[in-house]
């Protein structure tokens, strides 16, 4: 299984978890263990966020909004991940609503970056 498929699978797990009332913290550790890393790179974290947003606003919308957020915060790195998450949250909430913006905030800040 390649990296993209692995992330897609983890994204699906997160979405299903929301429906099955699964403990998210345990799910996050499980995700990290399965991905065999101590932390994600910014690009991997962005891909995971994309899979989380996909059922709400669509694949292309999630991708282009993340690209716009990355451009707005001056490029994506582990150092400015929080700034990126704040930008993404603002952009998502502008067309998906405040609840979706909060989701981006909480999911983004709960990810551990290497």
């Amino acid at each position: 299984m390649n990296w993209d498929q692995a992330l897609a699978q983890e994204g699906s797990r997160w979405r299903e978890a929301a429906l099955r009332q699964v403990d998210t913290e345990r799910l996050l550790h499980g995700t990290m263990r399965r991905l065999e890393r101590n932390g994600l790179t910014p690009a991997e974290a962005m891909a995971l966020m994309g899979h989380l947003l996909e059922p709400l606003c669509g694949k292309k919308a999630a991708e282009s909004t993340m690209t716009a957020a990355s451009r707005r915060c001056g490029g994506l790195s582990a150092h400015n991940w929080r700034t990126f998450v704040a930008c993404l949250s603002e952009l998502i909430s502008s067309f998906c609503g405040a609840a979706a913006g909060r989701l981006v905030d909480q999911a983004g800040l709960s990810l551990e970056l290497a």
Partner: protein, 240 residues
């Protein structure tokens, strides 16, 4: 049967108003999307008044002139709907969606104009065109044109939904497109094809419910996000 039709539409717009108002509250104050859902809620509210007026009119067997006053509510509802759609499209354009129209979109725009022509040409076949009140006849003419404007704006929403590539929001936009176009098709059939009353009646009943489905689908974005958010928050609290 006409009374039942009015009741079905009235119920649909009550449901639409409830959804639009909730969605409006999900957007922060200066957001254009908040404005969009506010105006869509206003349009739903005016449509409730319009169908309640018509329902009372049919039940009390009002004469045409008295009934034709509904044109004020129809035009106001269409203006609010148009403005809501403009704000909706503008909110999407601000984040880069719906900026690039394809050749096919221009073809559909031409189709909308073609559909609007028989409505304007044969508008004398519509009930209120025979009202003795000149202002109501003018408003009826205006509402025929105004109905085509939201249908044209629907093309922009369709382009946005295609660009989003799936998701609940895109589904909501597609239902909204169906609602806006079906109303124009309905009026076009009513004026140009006099024998199509059954199709017109069924489509006329279904159209407002398409708007309800659009709003319900958009509201499900908020519900799903809240659910996922709660889970993450609960997990974070447990960890700390």
């Amino acid at each position: 049967m006409t009374e039942w039709g009015e009741f079905i539409k009235l119920t649909a717009y009550v449901a639409a108003l409830a959804y639009c108002w909730r969605i409006r509250a999900d957007h922060p104050r200066p957001a254009r999307m908040r404005q969009a859902w506010f105006w869509l809620a206003v349009s739903s509210g005016l449509s409730i008044l319009r169908h309640a007026y018509e329902l009372v009119g049919y039940l009390a067997d009002w004469e045409l002139d008295r009934m034709s006053w509904r044109q004020i509510l129809i035009v106001l509802a269409l203006l609010a709907l148009t403005w809501g759609l403009v704000e909706l499209a503008a909110a999407f354009r601000a984040v880069g969606f719906g900026l690039h129209w394809r050749r096919l979109d221009w073809f559909w725009l031409a189709a909308i104009v073609v559909l609007a022509v028989p409505v304007v040409v044969h508008r004398h076949r519509l009930g209120d065109a025979n009202s003795t009140i000149a202002a109501m006849r003018s408003l009826q003419f205006l509402s025929s044109i105004l109905l085509a404007v939201p249908a044209a704006l629907a093309l922009g929403l369709h382009r946005i939904s295609v660009e989003m590539t799936g998701g609940k929001w895109a589904t909501a936009l597609q239902w909204m497109v169906a609602f806006l176009v079906s109303r124009l098709v309905c009026l076009c059939l009513l004026t140009a094809v006099p024998d199509s009353w059954l199709v017109v009646t069924l489509l006329g009943w279904a159209a407002p419910w398409m708007f309800v489905l659009a709003a319900a689908e958009r509201w499900s974005v908020t519900r799903a996000a809240e659910k996922m958010s709660d889970q993450i928050f609960a997990g974070a609290n447990k960890a700390s």
